[in-house]
């Protein structure tokens, strides 16, 4: 098969070139390449042509931000070198515990909406200090 496949990789993807050979009768259906059937049963999800522009070509990439990022930034600004984060292990990082506490306190007293973040901030700090996490 390899002898007479046209070595022009830009003329089309490999499947269309081999199918063209079969259609033209140069390559009989029985000795089609080994991967041909597999390609037919599960074709690639993205079009394999070399010059096609895939989706989202040229569009800006979506930045990933969450609401708790604001709070986290404030926390980090205040406590620059709190305990280090170990990415591999699953231990809760200090900032995450801080955020969880913050959330808990916020839910405890949903009534006073006007309570500013500062108060909740101090409350969570006190709460954390109680159960032994030193904040530097």
């Amino acid at each position: 098969m390899a002898q007479f496949v046209a070595r022009t990789e830009r003329s089309g993807n490999i499947f269309s070139r081999v199918t063209g050979l079969i259609r033209a009768g140069q390559l009989s259906w029985s000795d089609r390449p080994l991967w041909y059937d597999v390609y037919v049963s599960s074709p690639p999800l993205s079009p394999p042509d070399w010059n096609v522009k895939l989706a989202k070509h040229g569009e800006p990439i979506r930045p990933i931000f969450y609401e708790e990022d604001v709070l986290r930034a404030k926390f980090y600004k205040k406590y620059r070198n709190t305990a280090a984060i170990q990415i591999d292990s699953s231990k809760q990082s200090i900032s995450q515990q801080f955020l969880n506490e913050y959330q808990i306190i916020k839910n405890e007293n949903p009534t006073e909406e006007n309570k500013e973040e500062e108060e909740i901030f101090e409350k969570t700090e006190k709460r954390l200090q109680e159960n032994g996490i030193t904040l530097k």
Binding site: I85, I87, K91
Partner: protein, 163 residues
Amino acid sequence: MFRAIIRARPVKQFVECRAAYSTPESIIDFVDSVAETSESQNKSFASLLRHSKFMQLGDFNGRLVVGKIAQRIQDDLYIDFGLKFNAVCKAPSVGSESYRSGARVLIRLLDPELSERFLGSNKDLTLLEADAVLVRLLSNTNIARKPKVPAEKEADKPEIPAE
């Protein structure tokens, strides 16, 4: 958002994990990892990402991160701290013997990937390396570990350019 209660893991995996961890230090990891994997078995990628440590890092400049020394060549330390690339730091002159591969160190992460856009090129040139400053040694490994070490996979050294 309480943490979901730990569901019972399939026993086979449980036993096999316990055999692989023997030192005290890694038993704590093991317990945590069991909690973590069982809980995030069916989580979607979005929620996984949201709760991942990478997001908890916030902005990188100057964040204290715990890393493990993957490789040491003469006195360059390749520190693997969980992100895509290893940070390369110089071993300090004092007590540089204890900075062996496998030791845990504290580093201050400046940039997860050093990449620069030079004049006239439309793409950045990346060094495939993270930029970090070595702060101090956390735990030395070969004293704490028994000789039989659970086989941690270490990033190997780029071999001589055998082109």
